[in-house]
Amino acid sequence: MTRFEYHKPHTIKEAIGLMESLENAKFIAGGTDVMVLIKRKKIAPAHLISLRNINDFSSIDIGDGLQIGGGVTHSDIVANEFIQKRYSALTDAAGKVGSRQIRNVATVSGNICNAAPSADTACPLLVLDADVKIAGPKGERQIPLDDFFLGAGRVDLGPGEVVTGFHLPPFGLNTGSAYIKHTRRQAMDLPMVGIAVRVTIRIGGSEIGCKDAFCTIDSISNILRRLEDEELRCEDVRIAMGVVAPRPVRTRKAEAALRGKVISEALFEEIAEIAAAEAQPRDSIRGEAWYRREMVKVLTKRAILISVDRVLRPDDMI
């Protein structure tokens, strides 16, 4: 193995201080990317500054939305029932990253800081309006995740800066979200396309949704048709796409076309067409551009339907 010194600070301040004072140093969290890069001799840091032993770094706090600590692993996310109910898209994504062994150590912060176009947790965090919390030699700052990504593998982190976590706003019971990862094989693969959606539905005076027995078994398409007279309106929506651009991107035209409208499956099809037109996929070993674009269309509609379903039939999510 390559030789490096290994540092285990207990506070963020200490970690930033080490990063400032040491030559050729790199932060390491779960290490599932950093250790691979070192072993493959892509990088050769003289010092690794571990973020695993920072006090109170792995907490998930509810209140004023959701606070996710910088040391929170994908498994921590999957195990959290509140996230599963209120921020479902994030659970969908975290549970599909790598293997159980990887999810047990790999952090969400690490997934975001790598800024791969295929990063699974990026699209859900984008649609859930996440802010990135950053600490550095000049103090702390907080910026929208959308501004944090600069390009493939590039993020808005200055020298000595480190991501200390994420803040997500609260969402009501009329909000549902979903992430679909499209892969060639079910496990241990990067997405060919990843689509995340968050939909907030405007609910009038009476409670919407269906209470009869058909609800539990019927398809969401049929339920939407039955609820046509209720004129359910899309209050707000976010749609984000992975692997169709150098960085995970929101499809703002598609979002604008859905916002404020009465929802129907036909409308979702139009929205999906717009999203596909906005996508700029490339040919790669995981899939050809035309196929990826086609799948953006299919998966955008599907992800909207799942999100709506999670609002209308919340029990099915648990």
Binding site: Y6, G31, R52, S75, R100, I102, V105
Partner: protein, 157 residues
């Protein structure tokens, strides 16, 4: 510069002199000579090096040794009872014919143990999800899944 660290290995306190650049896998195999844990790919793809750290399955090939300090590590060698009797999972793997070349076996069993410890009655999907990061190139998984079901008390006996 070598450093001395202490961690719990298979329920025993161990003191080891290590280089900060070593992985847990290297220390297990080359320093402590516990060769039950295998190195397959070395990049966290195959799961042959799976061990359990503080109750969670981990790829030891990507685990910096200094992070093991103060933690509890369990390897395949730690499963057998003091009497020499095999762990129910090991017994089930033998009975169900879940071992062919054996290279993935230690990692498979450690993944399965982490699962059964947190979920006594895993479904077939739970099992598949938990061993998705453990590659087997000979038996084709059916016997492995059967063995884990048996050991968890949920399948044939």
């Amino acid at each position: 510069m070598k450093r001395e660290i202490t961690f719990k290995l298979n329920n025993e306190e161990r003191k080891v002199e290590v280089d900060p650049g070593w992985t847990l896998l290297y220390v297990l195999r080359e320093v402590l000579e516990l060769t039950g844990t295998k190195e397959g790919c070395g990049y966290g793809e195959c799961g042959a090096c799976t061990v359990i750290i503080d109750g969670r399955s981990v790829n030891s090939c990507l685990y910096p040794i200094l992070e093991a300090e103060g933690r509890a590590v369990t390897t395949i060698e730690g499963l057998r009872a003091a009497s020499g009797e095999l762990h129910p999972l090991q017994r089930a793997f033998v009975n169900e014919g879940a071992v062919q070349c054996g290279f993935c076996t230690a990692g498979m069993i450690m993944s399965a143990k982490a699962l059964i410890d947190e979920n006594e009655k895993p479904t077939e999907d739970d099992i598949k999800d938990n061993i998705a990061g453990n590659l087997c190139r000979c038996t084709g998984y059916v016997q492995i899944i059967d063995a884990i079901k048996t050991a968890a008390g949920g399948g044939r006996t």
